[in-house]
């Protein structure tokens, strides 16, 4: 049984500022994410990826166009959608213990303390952190904090997990671990995952589909299917010729678009 609904982005435009200072960031984006699908949105820095994700989360209102979750138009955060942001330091509350951070969204739903603590500890175990519940987030390393943020998303029990550059500020080794964790959770729990990233390799490694953004203002350049199956691992998948070919195609798409204005952006 599939949980959750499809996410639809329809002709989404986003501008900041008004009048002559108006700056258009997103220009007519249309895309769709189906239940249990893993979709990566990749694009250069400053392409408005975070803005897109905030619209998907119902945290920002588009200037025009709309985001739908199933039949409902998303104008505010939805209980089916959990967000893991890049800034784990800011998004974990330093005055709450780790388990309390994970359980906090459940408290918002009125779940009793004993129940939410048990659930929080389960989710911490699922992300490979069985023994840190009683610590504070700032006592953990960056990679561990990001795991806690993911555990919080899981505890929320949302069918859709949105991740904004989730592994952008952790070290390389933790990053690989976290990517594999994301793949595993997705496989086990059958959740929909949308990852926004500037890292092409990561996008290809994590996604069933990769949506490439580019241009100024940003539009969808292309959508690529990733035919690598669901069982992936860091060594063999990255060595797969199809992996190499896909990443080259994504890079070419982004570079081809950005070449006239800023070739340095294409350097990953």
């Amino acid at each position: 049984m599939t949980r959750g609904s499809s996410l639809y982005v329809e002709d989404l435009c986003m501008s900041f500022g008004q009048g002559p200072q108006e700056h258009r960031v997103l220009d007519g984006l249309t895309l769709r994410v189906d239940p249990e699908e893993a979709v990566c949105v990749v694009g250069p820095s400053g392409a408005g990826k975070t803005t897109l994700l905030r619209c998907l989360a119902g945290l920002a209102r588009p200037t025009s166009g709309q985001v739908r979750y199933g039949e409902r138009s998303l104008t505010e955060p939805h209980g089916d959608i959990a967000v893991v942001s890049q800034d784990y330091r800011g998004s974990l509350l330093p005055w709450l213990r780790v388990w309390d951070n994970v359980a906090f969204p459940l408290q918002g739903r009125g779940v009793k303390k004993a129940v939410r603590k048990r659930r929080a500890l389960e989710c911490l175990e699922a992300v490979g952190l069985p023994d840190v519940g009683e610590k504070y987030p700032w006592q953990l390393s960056g990679g561990m904090q990001q795991r806690v943020a993911i555990a919080r998303g899981l505890a929320y029990d949302a069918p859709v997990l949105l991740m904004d550059e989730p592994f952008g500020s952790v070290d390389a080794q933790s990053r690989f671990d976290l990517e594999d964790l994301t793949l595993r959770l997705r496989r086990q729990l059958g959740i929909t995952v949308v990852v926004v990233t500037h890292d092409i390799d990561e996008a290809v490694y994590l996604g069933d589909r990769v949506i490439v953004l580019g241009g100024s203002p940003t539009a969808v350049l292309d959508t690529l299917l990733v035919p690598l199956g669901t069982d992936r691992d860091q060594l063999s998948t990255r060595a797969d010729p199809r992996f190499a070919e896909l990443r080259t195609r994504v890079l070419a798409l982004i570079r081809g678009e950005r070449m006239p204005t800023g070739p340095e952006v294409a350097h990953q």
Binding site: V83, P94, W95, L96, L140, G143
Partner: protein, 280 residues
């Protein structure tokens, strides 16, 4: 083992006490009686005079005034800090109120409210509410946008957000405000009792001063100092208890260093323990 830090903190106060004791010993100066005489007067007045009653009166006023100021200042500060329109509208008014010395209100308050306990509590409240209010407002604003967005994204209902996100997030600044308010409150407590009051520590030093009981005057002054110091130590203990997370976290936040490459994130590997900053 616990002796060393205590010794390191106490040697100077002990030395000062000793110097004062020795330098005033045998003093024949009318205005600077021997310290022993002052302490004897303090003891005598506390036990047999009315000083203990004065102390209780003053203590009650300052605690009531501060409690009231904290309740109103934090309550209003949370609301004003959260609502932008209100913040902009109240800005000039708050700056004006802060810039007006509360001592200036003493004659008006005595005139309108009389000389009982109420007007003194009100005066202490009036003086100490501003630092608490202003600090609460800026504390609320200083909460990182990422925190707000998380609370919004996970649909945390408003009362819960206020209690577990905004209040603790602003708490470091709120407590700093209360600390400032405490020193203002001690001043106002004394002033409010010097003008038009038959009781209180302020009245005690005024009365004993104007009747040339110099030792008693000194004793009262010292007692006021002890009272102020005692309250600030108490506040420090409360702060330590409430802000454990803030003080322990601080060094790591001030000098953020890039996360080091390390093995699997096992909590018991020595590497991660070291980089966790658990021991501060």
């Amino acid at each position: 083992m616990p002796w060393k830090p205590i010794l390191r903190q106490l040697w100077l106060p002990a030395l000062v006490f000793l110097v004062l004791l020795l330098s005033t010993a045998g003093s024949t100066s009318f205005y600077f009686p021997p310290l022993t005489e002052v302490l004897a007067a303090l003891w005598r007045e506390l036990l047999h005079g009315g000083l203990f009653g004065d102390l209780l009166f003053s203590l009650r006023n300052i605690l009531c005034g501060l409690a009231l100021a904290t309740a109103v200042g934090v309550g209003a500060g949370l609301v004003i800090g959260e609502i932008r329109t209100l913040r902009l509208a109240t800005g000039p008014l708050l700056d004006f109120a802060r810039a007006t010395p509360t001592v200036g209100f003493v004659p008006v308050i005595i005139l309108t409210l009389g000389i009982g306990s109420g007007p003194k509590i009100f005066l202490i409240f009036l003086g100490s509410v501003w630092p608490i209010l202003l600090n609460t407002i800026s504390g609320v604003q200083a909460i990182s946008p990422a925190v707000h967005e998380t609370a919004r994204g996970y649909r945390i209902p408003w009362p819960l957000r206020l209690r577990r996100v905004i209040l603790p997030g602003a708490l470091p600044q709120i407590l700093a405000g209360i600390r400032i308010a405490l020193s203002v409150a001690v001043v106002l407590m004394v002033v409010s009792e010097i003008y038009g009051s038959p009781v209180g520590l302020g009245n005690f030093i005024l009365q004993s001063g104007s009747s040339f009981h110099v030792a008693e005057t000194w004793a009262g002054t010292i007692l006021i100092g002890i009272l102020g110091y005692g309250l600030s130590v108490l506040l420090l203990l409360v702060e330590h208890r409430l802000l454990g997370w803030y003080h322990q976290r601080a060094p790591r936040v001030r000098s953020p260093r890039p996360d080091r490459v390390q093995g699997p994130d096992s909590p018991d590997s020595p590497d991660s323990v070291k980089s966790n900053g658990v021991v501060v």
